[in-house]
Amino acid sequence: MNWLKIFYNRKLRNKIHHSWMWISLGIVFVLPMSLFIGLMWKSAILLNQQSVFDLLFSSEWKPMAGKFGYLTFIVSSVWVTMIALLIAGPVCLLTAIHLTQYAKSWVLKIMAPVIDILAGLPSVIFGVWGILFVIPLLANHIGPFFGKSVSGYSILAGAIVLSIMIIPFILNILIEIFQTVPKELSEASLALGATRWQTIKFVLLKKSSAGIVSAFGLGMSRAFGETIAVLMVVGNVVHLPSGVFQPGYPLPSLIANNYGEMLSIPMYDSALMFSALLLFVIVLIFNAISRLIILRSSH
């Protein structure tokens, strides 16, 4: 058999392509698993010495003394994410409703690339925008308005920057979801004498409720893990924040600021790996919850 014949053997080709697919699939599956196992492995040193409960619910962070309490970081992360979602959520929902239900088609044609550009901007640009615009705004106007003298570097600053970053992300998903709701369904509601708003409330939002939850869930996962833009404006002070004007120190910032430095301190490496593991697990839980809601509402 000559080489050309082997080369053009379609059964052989079929087998080769098939195995390529298996390998690709394997990579996609194995990578996150190995990431998880690796993180577990590295954090095991810390976990062997301290109980998970102490790690999660203590805010005492003294690496030199071997005390690692993550509460400050967890609370900061949760606050920043929740406030960001609180700001971004209604904006995205109302914008998506307007663009898909009320606006003329050319408006969406103009807005779609604008949203894409916003989604594609490097996060460091949002960070710089935060420093140049959001920080002074908080320090000079919003803080004094509430009778507080603040530097501006705070949980709220991080949340505002983060909310702007996740808006295009959530908005894109919402627009897509609303566009998949059949026009005839809205027409059925309108034909029964419903107003535009009633139709949106009872038909559009209801039909896409699972999609909305998943859009917010994905936005939340993204917000939780976003590092650089938040790091630039959030203050990075290891102190349990008690208000939105106080500086915070989210988990991703902890890793980004410290990994590679001070690794001579015993267990510090393991402690940072544990914070990565925390991030990993929390994002996983967000995803699982939003998927569960989708699953339940589709039945």
């Binding site: 029964l192 419903a194 107003t195 209801k206």
Partner: protein, 252 residues
């Protein structure tokens, strides 16, 4: 000629630059089944949708002329469009049950117009589900999503939902085209019953269906009304050449 409910005078409809409906002049008799017949793409669905002003949802649609409902012009009416739409129940080509339970689908139209009393709603829902022969099939599963019904049941549910807002007119746009023969017959028989209380406008391209249930026929071709007559005259003694050709199956 019977008393007419709807009179359309010089109705023209443009979609962008396309002239879809060309100088339509028709009368639709009360408490009869009027069938709008014609090959696909002739504008019959557009004509139906212009009756409850669904056409105006598309910004590129321009209309002129008059659509008189009981003598009142719908196109220039100051009356709220939701009030106009409540006077007509719409049955679409495929059933589109609302994303809620069977019960709520029927109660929807009542709820959005402010009827919230539980007892009243229960009573109405049962009444209209009985009207459409659905009650016995669904009475034990009223709280289940409407999407769990078969297509034929869904279409009857859509009919019940439309009847529940107490319309004067039923607009039906090829309502049996997605249904099996049995369900189709059920809908046709239902229409024959409903015409005692409602004016029915039915769009179809199925000649057999038109022959079965039409009292009055409007034949459309290429955006124009070619012929309108009582069903017997229309089928037995068509006046226009194009009508004869269509009835003999020379084009669809």
């Amino acid at each position: 000629m019977h008393n007419s409910v709807i009179d359309i005078e010089h109705l023209n409809l443009f979609y962008g630059k396309q002239h879809i409906l060309k100088d339509i002049n028709i009368s639709i008799p009360a408490k009869r089944i009027t069938v709008i017949l014609g090959p696909s793409g002739c504008g019959k669905t557009t004509l139906l949708r212009s009756l409850n002003r669904l056409t105006e949802l598309d910004a590129s649609v321009k209309m002129s002329g008059k659509i008189l409902l009981n003598g009142q012009d719908l196109l220039s009416s100051k009356e709220d469009v939701t009030t106009i739409r409540k006077k007509m129940g719409l049955l679409a080509q495929r059933p589109y049950p609302l994303p809620m339970s069977i019960y709520n689908n029927v109660a929807y139209g009542l709820r959005i117009s402010g009827r919230r009393k539980k007892k009243f709603l229960n009573n109405r829902v049962e009444y209209y589900l009985r009207q459409t022969n659905l009650w016995e099939e669904v009475k034990d599963r009223l709280r289940e999503p409407a999407a769990t019904l078969s297509i034929g049941q869904q279409q009857r549910l859509c009919l019940a939902r439309g009847l529940a807002v107490d319309p004067q007119i039923i607009l039906a746009d090829e309502p049996t085209s997605a249904l099996d023969p049995h369900s189709s017959r059920m809908i046709e028989e239902k229409f024959a019953e409903l015409k005692n209380n409602y004016t029915i406008v039915l769009v179809t391209h199925i000649l057999r269906q038109a022959r079965n249930i039409a009292d009055h026929v409007i034949f459309m071709y290429m955006g124009q009304v070619v012929e309108q007559a009582d069903a017997r005259d229309f089928f037995e003694n068509p006046q226009e050449q194009r009508t004869k050709a269509y009835l003999q199956g020379q084009f669809y």
